[in-house]
């Protein structure tokens, strides 16, 4: 399916270049319609603004540790746009853009980082989203299992699962790709290669030239795309999704991208990376590029963009307020969800704790 983009030959798919121009040689690729491009742009603006707001709230001491997604937005936006809304979407933890495409309330995302379990409450049959997975790469087998379940039921639904470049080193990555290969499971493995795992650079993570080429060791194809190019991400995902739906099995997509911010707000990236490198990647910012495109195409005006930004900021502020005012998790709830119903030994523990806390619930 991606014969012309074999990563082992040093190929990387780019459709929209840094100047916001489409590569006209690639007209056979599925392209975003104008409507989709505009949607992608709008969500990317919201993602960017919401993300920056979270970082600034952290500085104000109003938000605990938060992992920014700045610079990586095109990866989850482009790929989630390319699949259906009832396909399974299994997050790592830098997929805010994709969540917003799926219309998850921004307040829920904030709620999660405010330390409230309700932030992981994605109603299953509404969203088909799995919550953020903290142990790196451990979400991959879940996605394979979801894909198997759909295959078992013959629904033609697929799964997409995200992971980082660091996450490719974990055994779960290997086992999941291997199971999916053997099962010909309808799944897309999407690796956001943002060049670092906290402080560890990509070349210290694995000695292979690309991450995409790892797919071939599992009997399926991998492709490296410019992860800052929402068109390339979209196209590769669209093709891989069709492939999966036809029963042809998995695909590995490596989004070649960059984390412009810190690993989390607790991290100081100047310890491990050069300013030059960052400056270089700022030029490749997915948002600037898409903005040039929508402006050139006259899908939006400068003025509308200004308005969009202001609205996004308002939305972010309101969403945070909503999250911040959300009912705190109670003592009861700390116990209630361990099992479907509370076993007697736990009920007794709850009662004891209640007494220790002077009767709180």
């Amino acid at each position: 399916m991606f014969e012309n983009y074999d990563p082992r030959e040093g190929k990387r798919l780019q459709i929209l270049n840094e100047e916001g121009q489409l590569n006209t040689d690639l007209q056979d690729m599925p392209l975003l319609t104008n409507k989709q491009a505009l949607e992608a742009y709008k969500i990317m603006v919201l993602t960017r603004v919401a993300d920056e707001w979270a970082v600034s709230l952290n500085r104000q001491g109003r938000m605990p540790t938060y992992p920014p997604v700045k610079g990586q937005e095109a990866n989850s936006i482009g790929s989630i746009l390319a699949i259906k809304s009832d396909d399974w979407f299994v997050q790592a933890f830098r997929e805010l853009g994709g969540l917003l495409i799926r219309e998850v309330p921004l307040s829920q995302h904030y709620l999660y980082y405010l330390g409230n379990e309700m932030g992981s409450y994605y109603e299953r049959d509404k969203y088909h989203i799995l919550p953020i997975s903290v142990p790196i790469a451990s979400q991959l087998p879940h996605a394979v299992g979801l894909a198997y379940a759909e295959q078992y039921r013959g629904t033609k639904k697929i799964a997409i699962v995200f992971n980082g470049d660091g996450g490719t080193s974990v055994g779960d990555f290997h086992e999941s790709l291997n199971f999916a290969g053997v099962w010909k499971a309808p799944i897309i493995f999407y690796v956001q290669n943002n060049q670092y795992a906290i402080s560890v650079p990509r070349h210290s993570q694995t000695a292979s030239t690309t991450i995409a080429e790892k797919a071939f060791g599992y009997g399926f194809e991998g492709i490296q795309v410019d992860g800052n190019d929402v068109f390339a991400v979209y196209a590769a995902t669209k093709i891989a999704a069709a492939h999966a739906r036809k029963g042809n099995g998995p695909t590995l997509i490596e989004g070649f991208t960059y984390r412009l911010g810190a690993h989390t707000t607790a991290d100081d990236p100047t310890r491990y990376r050069e300013d030059d490198e960052v400056a270089d990647w700022i030029k490749r910012d997915p948002l600037i590029r898409l903005e040039k495109y929508v402006l050139q195409k006259k899908l939006i005006s400068e003025k509308q963009i200004e308005k969009l930004r202001q609205d996004a900021k308002k939305q972010a502020v309101a969403a945070f307020e909503e999250a911040d005012n959300f009912q705190k998790e109670s003592l009861d709830n700390t116990f209630r969800y361990t099992f479907k119903s509370l076993p007697p030994i736990m009920a007794e523990q709850l009662e004891q704790r209640r007494q220790l806390e002077g009767g709180s619930r």
């Binding site: 992981s120 997975s133 379940a149 999941s176 969800y337 007697p344």
Partner: protein, 327 residues
């Protein structure tokens, strides 16, 4: 009715439940074509097809992790870990996800799945094939741990486990797999998880055990009865959430307790039982509650395994000693 061994009862439970519920699937290493190295899944693939009973690549972590994905999607996977000593590669999935999915998502995603595994020593097996580490699983919040000791209970408890909306680790005492037969109904039935069983009523001492050591516990209780010593024998059956009420009530009656299991002593199941009854039946205790368990050593290879497991005579002698206790 049919007379079945424990291993046959496992197979029968799977047969019965897969017949009833099309969402039940079962998989693992050598589970499909071969029917399992202990033959627990024999004929299931023939009967239900390769989509419902199948072999996986060799990777316990992925077996458990993919099962969780299936469970989230609404299937009811029952996976086999070939020996409990090979559940360790799956530890991260068990403690990091299987046990937490409900709590993490406030109930919107759940893990109705069963992880079956033969445990216990005494079959002259290789290293890592004789593990009894149920306390590890029991300490993990969000996991149920069930261990049957008879064919009848195996079927009933396994069906309960499959129908349970929470994840269950189902540990099968492989030393007893073919030790004896028992009448087992052909139809589906359940035995509640979280309830211990009073195997024999008695008045002088409470003997708590489960799984692989129940054979010796039962023998000891009978031998002692012949001597006129009245033992109340309890089969714990569920390690978590264990049936505190039954044990505490029994100790309140007998005033004495001996807890017997095969796994290592320190931080083991007996410690929990004793800690609990000491608190809740303190005033009733007439002798120090005692444990008779595996040592804090690695389970020995076959040549020395008799130095590890608890023998009937050990139980008998220890109970005699406890009864002689004078403050």
């Amino acid at each position: 009715m049919q007379a079945l061994t424990i291993i046959a009862a496992v197979n029968d439970a799977l047969m019965t439940e897969m017949q009833i519920d099309p969402e039940v699937v079962t998989f693992g290493e050598d589970v499909g074509v071969e029917g399992g190295v202990f033959r627990a899944t024999v004929n299931l693939q023939k009967k239900f097809g390769k989509k419902r009973c199948f072999d996986t690549p060799l990777a316990e972590n992925a077996i458990v992790g993919t099962a969780l994905g299936m469970a989230i999607a609404g299937l009811r996977p029952v996976v086999e870990i070939q020996f409990s000593g090979f559940a360790y590669p799956a530890f991260n999935q068990i403690i990091g996800h299987v046990s937490r999915m409900r709590n993490r998502t406030r109930g919107t995603l759940t893990a109705p799945m069963v992880i079956r595994m033969p445990y216990s020593g005494g079959i002259r097996a290789l290293e890592m094939h004789s593990e009894s580490m149920e306390a590890l699983f029991a300490h993990i919040p969000g996991i149920k741990v069930v261990i049957p000791s008879t064919p009848y209970e195996t079927k009933g408890l396994l069906i309960s486990a499959i129908r349970d909306d929470d994840p269950v680790i189902f540990m099968e005492p492989k030393r007893l797999y073919r030790a004896f037969k028992q009448e087992v109904p052909e139809e589906a039935y359940t035995i509640p998880i979280g309830k211990a069983r009073i195997v024999q009523e008695g008045t002088q001492i409470t003997l708590v055990s489960y799984g692989s050591q129940m054979k010796e516990a039962r023998e000891a209780a009978q031998l002692l009865q012949q001597e006129g010593i009245s033992v109340e024998l309890i089969d714990l059956r569920t390690i978590y959430p264990y049936d505190k009420a039954t044990i505490v009530d029994s100790v309140k009656k007998t005033g004495r307790l001996l807890a017997v299991h095969e796994g290592p002593r320190s931080f083991g199941v007996a410690a929990e039982i004793i800690s609990t009854i000491t608190k809740d039946a303190f005033e009733y205790l007439e002798a120090p509650p005692t444990r008779l368990t595996g040592a804090d050593t690695i389970f020995p290879l076959p040549g020395a395994e008799h130095h590890y497991m608890i023998q009937t005579s050990h139980i008998v002698n220890t109970i005699r000693e406890i009864l002689q206790y004078q403050p």
